[in-house]
Amino acid sequence: MFGYIGPEKGELKVRELGEYQAYYCGLCRTIGRRYGQASRLTLSYDCAFIAMLVDAFLPCRGCEKRRCAYKPLKRAQMMAKPSEGLAFAADMNVLLSWYKLRDNWSDEKRVFSAAGALALHAAKKRAARENPRLCAAIESGVAALSAIERKKTASVDAPADAFGVMMRDCVRCAPIDEKEAKAVESLSYNIGKWIYLMDAWDDREQDAKSGSYNPFLACGAEKERAAFLLNRTLNEAIKAFDLMNLASHKGVLENIIYEGCVNRTQTLLNRGGKHEQQPV
């Protein structure tokens, strides 16, 4: 996906950093085992977060030492043991990547995207078979979003809402305790919106050049308005997070939400655009 959700590594304890890395590696391995080695290239930080979140309501499953097929010369590393969260996040990762590549091809005719979608095709079919509800949620979410984008709607709320709804519907398919469902749904809706807004603000210069749709450009929103929206949306996500009863991974998830996401928002807002160099 986009990779905006991640920890503030400097603030993590060494043990927590290990925990996070074990999940990241564990997700990569799970994708490889379920969908073939090529699919591992789609690995994203956002889905590592989803995997940890889904698993956070049960006691920690622990780690195991394994070698990485991608870095055979490296020592064996700690990887999270197989879990429901990792399996779910692997499905979600593959499906989201496939739909994103397909959209890039049909909207912007990027050849690399077409090749990628083709390479992922078998994996996508398998993921759809494994988790049909999740696939349906993503398909309808992507359709709703691209309808809004194609109309070039002059609203920031509408497309962000569509993306948030898609994230919420995805996470609804995850094996999460019913008591926690409401808070988790609210968290995923707002985090989805936040990701969309972050990406839109990040890409606005590029989109202005290429003429692609960008909600911030479409309504002529300036930095103050973007800052309000990003902060408000993230604050809502934090409110939902505050109400969750986490059984494991508490430190890492708190770091990701309270510090990682918050700092990333401020960094993005304080710098010009993706391609603008920071003065050294």
Partner: protein
């Protein structure tokens, strides 16, 4: 709800009364009803708060009445938040606006929207109510625009002005410890009042050569 009260407050069983109180206060801040006023997570937050209150009361009673805080503390309770009825509005279409308000308080946003869409008067009340609907829906850009519009039309209306300031404040970046959540709506809180007074005193002392000292200790 039958959890270990120490676990609920997140303190060890050997924690002192001060530690328990500090943990309690930070949890009250975390689940405070003000924070969840316009959120559909209101009930969960309220349940959590009640659990925390109960745990704190159990622990402070146990401490053989040492802490006098027990009686004065467990009183953080949720209130209804948005009031459906208590509006002072008496302009055109008052009846329709009142109906829209009651739908909003029942959280029936579609019905409230339908009523508002039929009203042609685009006054401050209309923008305010539509803004509240957008806020509930999570469309913060629109909510901000409409509530600002209502506030600018009638800056003296207490309800619009409080909504406007609350919305503004919730768009501040989060800082750990929740300081920005409870940021003051106006700039005249106790702290700034005191510091202004001390400043004024210093100026006064300087200018009058020490003859005019309002606060003798500084």
């Amino acid at each position: 709800m039958n959890n270990n009260p120490y676990k609920v407050l997140g303190v060890s069983e050997s924690a002192s009364q001060e530690e328990i109180r500090a943990a309690y206060l930070s949890l009250v801040k975390k689940y405070h009803p003000d924070k969840y006023r316009d959120s559909d997570l209101k009930e969960i937050a309220n349940d959590k708060l009640m659990e925390v209150n109960e745990a704190y009361e159990t622990l402070t009673k146990k401490g053989n009445g040492k802490g006098s805080s027990a009686s004065s503390s467990g009183s953080y309770q949720s209130y209804g938040g948005y009031s459906g009825a208590g509006s002072a509005y008496s302009g055109p279409n008052a009846a329709e606006f009142a109906r829209a308000r009651s739908y909003i308080s029942l959280n029936n946003l579609t019905a409230a929207k339908q009523i508002l869409d039929r009203i042609d008067t685009r006054n401050a009340e209309w923008y305010y109510l539509y803004g509240i609907i957008y806020l509930r829906q999570g469309w913060y850009d629109k909510a901000n625009e409409y509530i600002t519009n209502a506030y600018q039309q009638e800056p003296n209306n207490a309800e619009y002005s409080s909504a406007y300031h609350t919305v503004r404040n919730t768009g501040n970046p989060y800082t750990r410890g929740g300081r920005t959540y409870t940021a003051n709506a106006n700039d005249c809180d106790g702290c700034s009042l005191c510091s202004s007074l001390i400043c004024a005193d210093c100026c006064c002392e300087c200018l009058s050569g020490g003859n005019c000292d309002i606060i003798p200790c500084c």
